[in-house]
Symmetry: C2
Subunit: 143 residues, 2 copies
DNA sequence: AACAATTGTATGCTCAACTAACCAATTCGC
DNA sequence: GCGAATTGGTTAGTTGAGCATACAATTGTT
């Protein structure tokens, strides 16, 4: 027996589609790269610290839109796995300066190639102009 | 002293922007409508059941892209709060048929006006054509 | 009738996000 | 310069969501 198609005005809600897309992206990432043992968020943290050595936790959190407590738990985990190193900032004694360890740099390199594959999957669903436009619109939403 | 701007090639990753946008939308939703005591996901469940009375959990999960276990926990919560009612399906004894209670219908009505306000905030950041295009692209990603 | 697949359920784990409270270092206002 | 306010980091506890696994009941297949 054919299923009755599920129809709902929920389809008109933009936020609904953002949530579904986020879920799909997350799922694809973890399914395909579960052996890495890294979440997208964790990769983002390493990535950002790599591009900005000495970054403080508060700046990291601002960039990734996490509060201090959330930032702590993620940085803690990355430190426990010996991917990140904390140092007291020389210029502001309240801040921590974050740096990648050698091991962290290796993990990031692996992660980046995983992300590249993942991005390819995502981008294959759209054409280049669409991608440009999509990023532009998403930026308007999260800025 | 001016902060060094945080620059990173992470900005070129589409998935990164999707995650940030999702976070922003989530944050705005919960900030503005915390008194409702409902998450977006929970609203989606009530909404979908309202538009499709007798929906089974598996169908609900498929539509919202959740597995059975996740669907369970959310339906359980909605049942505990007396928003949803479970019935054994007449046509298939394995399935549950889900229905809104009167209280659930009221909660949904309130939630819908909250979502409307939330959507207005989201949509105000884009123009109508952009919104159409955005939804179209997000659908390509999550389908 | 025997077997496989589907649906719901229960349990336990992980991750991420948030709050609240607290402390130390810094900056502000006077 | 000094006390007060702010900022950054830390800790602890709570919540929501997602996943894996195992199991029971029902249905479908052969």
């Amino acid at each position: 027996m054919a299923e009755a198609p599920v129809i709902s005005s929920l389809q008109d809600i933009v936020g609904f589609h953002i949530r579904l897309a986020h879920g799909a992206v997350n799922r694809h990432f973890t399914e395909t790269f579960c052996d890495l043992g890294m979440t997208q968020k964790q990769v983002s943290v390493l990535w950002l610290v790599s591009d900005n050595p000495g970054l403080s936790q508060i700046e990291l959190g601002r960039e990734l839109q996490m509060d201090r407590a959330t930032t702590m738990t993620i940085v803690n985990r990355m430190q426990q796995r010996n991917f990140l190193r904390r140092e007291r900032s020389a210029t502001d004694g309240r801040k921590q300066s974050l740096f990648l360890t050698d091991e962290g740099a290796k993990a990031l390199a692996l992660s980046k190639s995983a992300v590249a594959q993942h991005e390819e999957w995502l981008r294959s669903r759209l054409n280049p102009e669409e991608i440009k436009k999509l990023v532009e619109m998403l930026a308007k939403i999260h800025d």
